[in-house]
Subunit: 362 residues, 2 copies
């Protein structure tokens, strides 16, 4: 069952747990902010629900609590960060802060980060730049999940692209896997016992898997050697544009693992403690092109014109960021949504670490 919990209280609990792991106050505050931000924007798959995975990685040493991200090469407009397998969210915030500083000083900042960890939603980091009046972009690679067009084996990660740009009444945020859906969406449908509504998963390269009871094929999604994988954005045939999603996934790989000399999708194994995903962070100051207010106003007007187009009866036209803004207003007032199973996981972690969770979940 899903219940609502006050976001400020839950944030304090996350803070206390991360402090108990040995993270500093500043670090714990940052992690708590990313996770609660994510739940507040209605993206429950990547919020506190992920704490159990991170807990597992902190315990087995895949996430190294005392690691600090380090700039190993830089210019006025670029940096390569080696994250030394620290917590992904902290590496992400650090790397985007570097990109933002460079963009404010020199117009552009491009940072590529290796040996990182799972960093939650890419849109969080893109939005950091937008909050400072900049264009922000971020991507991460991930273990093999997506089928290259005509291949029967997954190779490319779900490799999301996030892009944020200041706009009124709220920031434009695009944050999308380059596969048709991310891995987590399949799990959500399986938990809900619903069949997949479109060609999200294919076996043998182009045979759709829809049945949520097809445990054989769906379980194999996590196995890079299996003949099952996620469809790229654009499906599995060139007629529907499969090669486009697949190609966008490769472009993400360039900005993350290739430029940083980090681990590529096929080199990332969840079990291997010596590898971690690679990520990219870009900030661009619109002021290098023109008057920032004029640019933002023109963009806001462009987006508003889209919202006001004639729509299919009963449907709403959303611009990217609209749904998240609606979710935020709701969650801020009524609490974030946490299912009982996730809550139990968090309580178990807290208990083990000697953190009193009771005051925060009442």
């Amino acid at each position: 069952m899903i219940k609502r919990y006050d976001s400020d209280k839950m944030k304090q609990l996350v803070f206390n747990i991360y402090q108990a792991y040995g993270f500093s106050d500043d670090e714990s505050e940052k992690v708590a902010h990313t996770l609660i931000y994510t739940d507040l924007h209605g993206i429950e798959s990547h919020g506190v629900q992920r704490m159990v995975m991170y807990d597992h990685f902190i315990q087995n040493g895949k996430i190294r609590v005392k690691s600090q991200p380090e700039i190993v090469k830089q210019t006025d407009v670029s940096a390569v960060v080696d994250a030394h397998f620290g917590l992904g969210q902290l590496n992400g915030i650090y790397s985007m802060e570097v990109a933002i500083k460079k963009a404010k000083e020199h117009g552009v900042g491009i940072v590529t980060t290796r040996h990182s960890g799972h960093y939650g939603i890419a849109g969080y980091y893109a939005n950091m730049a937008a909050e400072q009046g900049l264009i922000g972009m971020s991507s991460t690679n991930s273990r093999p999940a997506m089928l290259p067009t005509h291949a029967t084996k997954a190779f490319v990660g779900t490799n999301p692209i996030a892009f944020a740009m200041p706009a009124k009444p709220h920031t434009f945020i695009f944050d999308a896997a380059t596969s048709t859906v991310p891995q987590g969406k399949i799990e959500v449908y399986r938990k809900l016992e619903k069949d997949l509504p479109a060609l999200w998963v294919a076996k043998n390269g182009d045979e759709p898997v829809y049945d949520h009871n097809d445990t054989h094929d769906l379980d194999l999604l996590r196995d890079p050697e299996a003949n099952v994988g996620l469809a790229p954005l654009g499906g599995v045939s060139e007629a529907t544009g499969s090669h486009k999603g697949f190609g966008l996934g490769i472009i993400v790989e360039v900005f993350t693992s290739i430029l940083s000399m980090g681990n590529t999708s096929t080199e990332i194994s969840p079990a291997d403690l010596q590898v971690g995903p690679s990520q990219s962070f870009i900030a661009i100051d619109p002021a290098i092109f023109g008057d920032k207010d004029q640019i933002v106003n023109r963009f806001s007007e462009y987006l508003q014109n889209i919202r006001e187009l004639p729509a299919i009866p009963g449907k709403t036209i959303y611009v990217h960021g609209d749904k998240e803004a609606i979710a935020y207003a709701d969650r801020k007032k009524n609490g974030i949504e946490i299912d009982d199973h996730t809550l139990e996981e968090i309580m178990t972690i807290a208990q083990r670490l000697g953190v009193d969770y009771k005051p925060f979940i009442g």
Copy 2:
């Protein structure tokens, strides 16, 4: 009927025609190079076949022969170019040269160009950077063609994204409309009297149009007020990822029209002589991140691993740029493919301009 023509001879004919319009030798050489390059790479829709459209625009003054692109604002890493409605290819080459120069000096160059013209394939400009060992990107907006998710009226252009990166045995080139297919693909299928093989066109927001005889709906594709449009990459429903192609189209709009304060998709009308598409050109030097050779070798190996994956029986796994490399080898040896109708159009133009075409089409 389609026949083969020697690419060097045809390039000379194009050169002579553009010289006769009043373009300088240098300009005529550049235009001829872009058009023949495109045909050599098997992208006939955007090669010499486009000369009749440009001819029309040169005659009615939409393309201004004597205009020169001008940098109206710049920093070390950026420029805004006003193209003053000169020929798109010349604006594109100029703008990408500016981006390349900045990337060589400062690591990154981002150029956004307004009041340009139809510039052919975006990949040409991305490849200019790759030929100099850099990462290249280019995009253009275009008049309304793509349906925003749930909208019944087109609004966003087909807004392609091109990305090129040096690799062995040849450059990785991604060049794709953010709609499932570009407008030209529909025309090709109609000419071939073949039904559309996938959801490329929708009416009333989400009703597929497949019938190539459906002139009513397909003719309306060019009418921004009609209830017909191209599907975004990802189709017309959120389940298939429609919002992703739609969002990528908006991102292209930011880098082209929004940052340059140029004309947005809805402001571009083919009939209006005072408007033109907006474009973007990005060059990034991989050397700011690490050893260029090492990066290129690692990327080449990554791509080769994809080519060697197990494939659907009878299908080949292509990496972006492979098909173009195959077409290039063929056309370079056996000639570029030009249909009789296009050849006739070129002969008519040559005749009017007093250019002797006979020596070049034998």
